[in-house]
Amino acid sequence: MAEISAATSVRAWQRRLILILLLAPALLWLLALIVLPHVQLALLSLRERVAPHVYQPSLAQFHTFFAEPLYWQVFVRTAALSIVATALTLLVAFPIAWVITKVARGRASALLFVVCLIPFWVSETVRALGWLILLRESGVLPALLVKLGLTAMPMELLYHDATILTGLVYTSLLFMVVPLVSSLESLDNSLIEAAYDLGANGFATLRNIVIPHAAPGITAGCIVVFMLTLGNYLTPNLLGGKNSQWFTELIYTQFIVRFNWEQGAAFGFLLLGLSTGIVALGLRLSGQRFVDVMRRS
C-alpha cells in the first residue's frame, strides 16, 4: 500500500510540475504582451506632462478629446461609417450565403464557397492596390466610363466616403460569409418547405424562420466585421486619402508622428472602449456569450 501511495504522490507531483510548465508560456504571453501593456497604456492616458520628464496624473488627454471638435467628430464618423459598412456587408453577404447553403447543391455549392474565400487569402495591401488602379482618376473605371460616353472627363472615384465603404465591405465579406454559411447550414430545409406549404410568402419565411435561426451567425459576423472595420487603417487611409478621417489615423499621428504618447494612449482607450461597448451590446441584444461567439467565428 505504502508503495502505491508513494507512486501516486510522485505522479501527482509530476502532474503538478507539468501543469506549471504548461502555465508558464500562457501566463508569460498574456501578462507580458496583453495585460501589462494595456495597464501601461492606461497609465499613459491618465497622465499629463507638466515639464520635461515631469508628469502628473490628470484627465487632460480625455478633456482634449472632447474639447477639440475635430477629434470627437472623427470618432463619431468612424463609428457611424463602421456601422454602415457592417450593415452593407451583411446585405451583400447574406444572399451569397443563402445560395451556397440552400440553392446550389453538392460540388457547385462547395466550389462557390471556396471561390468566395480565395480573395481573402490575399494581403489587404494587394486588394487596396487593386482598388486604387481601378478607381483613381487615371484608373480603369473612369477610363471605361469615358469610353462608354457616360462622363466627358475621367472622374476621380477615390477619396469619397462611398469608396471607403466599398473597400471596407470588400475587406470584410469573408468574416460575414463564413459565420452565415455555418449557421444557415444547420437550418433544416423541411422547415422552409413547411412554411411554404402553410402559405407563408418569402418575406414571412425569412422573418419568422430563417433570421431567428441564423441570428447567432448574423451576430457573430456583425461583431467581427464591426471590430475589424473600426480598427482598420490601411483601407480608409489608401482609398480615402486625406478625406478618410479614420480614428486609427489619429492614433498613429499622435503616437508616431507627434510622439505625444499620452494623447495617443487616450485615443487608443476610447477606440477600445467603443469596440468593446458595441460588441457587448451586440451580445446582450442577441443573448449570446462572448466565448461561444468567438468559437463560432
Binding site: P25, L41, V114, V126, L174, F175, G268
Partner: protein
C-alpha cells in the same frame, strides 16, 4: 427560395446575376492587379500599351528596375519571411502548450484564463501595437535607470514586430489546436500506457501525430497572417520594413508596376497555400481566421 421549392424564372435569373456580380466584385480588383504587372508603361494605369516582362526582369541598365533587381523590395520580402518564421514557431509552440493546458488540466482561475486568451482577437491591431510599444519602451527605460542596461531589442524594430504579431496569432493557434485535441479519444493514450509505454513515448507516437494536421494548419495560418499583418506592424516597425509596410509606403508615393509584379507573386503564393489547406482540412476551418486584423 430553396432548391426543392418551385422558384419563378425571374428569381432564378436574379440569383444567377447576383452571383455573377458578386464574383466580379471579388475578383476584378485582383485580376486588374495581375494584368497591369505586364503593361508596358511606367505607371499601372490604362491604356494597355503592350505586353512586357520588364517589371519582373528589368534592371537599372534597361531603365526599369523589375522585381528581381529591386533589392529594397526583395530585402523587405526577406524581412517578412524572417518575422513570419519566428511568429509561427512561437505561436504553434505556445498554442500547443495552451491546448494541453486547457483541455487536460483543471486549476483555479481557468475560466478567467480562457476568456483572457480570447481577448487579443477583440483588441484592434493598432491598439495591440501601441500597447506593446509603450510597455516595452517603459521596460527599456526601467532597465536603463535601474541597471544601466541598454536593451536595444525593446526599441521599435523586428523583435517587437514579432512579439506584437505573436500576441494575437497565438490565440488563433491555440483555438485551432485545442479544437482538434478536444476530439481526441483519450482511451488511445490509456491503452498505450497500459501496454507499458512511457508518457513521453505516448506523446511522441500517439498524441502528437494525431495533432499533426492542426499543427500544420495553424502553422500555415500563422505564417500567412504574419506575412500580411499591417496594423500592428505599422506601430512597431523600426528601420527594416517588412513587405506590407514597404508596399504601403510606395503606394502612397505613387505605385510603379513593380508593386503589381510582387502582388502577383503574393497572390499565387497565398492562393496556392489556401487551396492546399482547404483540400486538406475541413472547408471552413483554416479559411475563416485568415487575414484578420
Amino acid at each position: 427560395m430553396i432548391a426543392s421549392l418551385p422558384r419563378p424564372a425571374w428569381l432564378r435569373t436574379a440569383t444567377v446575376l447576383y452571383v455573377a456580380a458578386f464574383l466580379m466584385f471579388l475578383f476584378v480588383p485582383l485580376v486588374i492587379v495581375g494584368v497591369f504587372a505586364f503593361n508596358d508603361a511606367s505607371y499601372p494605369a490604362p491604356p494597355w500599351r503592350g505586353f512586357t516582362l520588364d517589371w519582373f526582369t528589368g534592371s537599372a541598365a534597361t531603365g526599369r528596375v523589375g522585381l528581381f533587381h529591386d533589392t529594397e523590395l526583395l530585402g523587405s520580402i526577406g524581412t517578412s519571411v524572417i518575422v513570419a518564421v519566428w511568429v509561427t514557431i512561437l505561436s504553434v509552440t505556445v498554442g500547443t502548450a495552451n491546448a494541453f493546458l486547457m483541455e487536460r488540466y483543471r486549476f483555479p482561475g481557468k475560466q478567467v484564463l480562457s476568456v483572457l486568451m480570447l481577448t487579443p482577437l477583440v483588441i484592434p491591431g493598432v491598439i495591440l501595437g501601441i500597447s506593446v510599444l509603450s510597455f516595452s519602451s517603459r521596460v527599456a527605460e526601467l532597465a536603463d535607470d535601474l541597471f544601466g542596461l541598454d536593451l536595444d531589442f525593446l526599441r521599435p524594430g523586428l523583435p517587437l514586430v514579432v512579439l506584437g504579431q505573436f500576441s494575437y496569432i497565438a490565440t488563433i493557434a491555440t483555438l485551432m489546436i485545442s479544437a482538434r485535441l478536444k476530439r481526441f479519444d483519450q482511451t488511445l493514450e490509456e491503452a498505450a500506457l497500459n501496454l507499458g509505454a512511457s508518457h513521453v513515448a505516448v506523446l511522441r507516437t500517439i498524441t502528437l501525430p494525431y495533432l499533426r494536421p492542426a499543427l500544420i494548419g495553424s502553422g500555415a495560418i500563422a505564417l500567412l497572417m504574419s506575412f500580411e499583418n499591417f496594423n500592428t506592424t505599422l506601430m512597431l516597425v523600426g528601420s527594416d520594413a517588412p513587405l506590407t509596410i514597404m508596399m504601403y509606403g510606395r503606394m502612397r508615393e505613387g505605385a510603379s508596376p513593380v508593386l503589381n509584379a510582387v502582388s502577383l507573386f503574393l497572390m499565387l503564393a497565398s492562393g496556392g497555400l489556401a487551396l492546399t489547406l482547404m483540400r486538406g482540412g475541413s472547408r471552413a476551418e483554416p479559411a475563416k481566421s485568415a487575414a484578420a486584423q
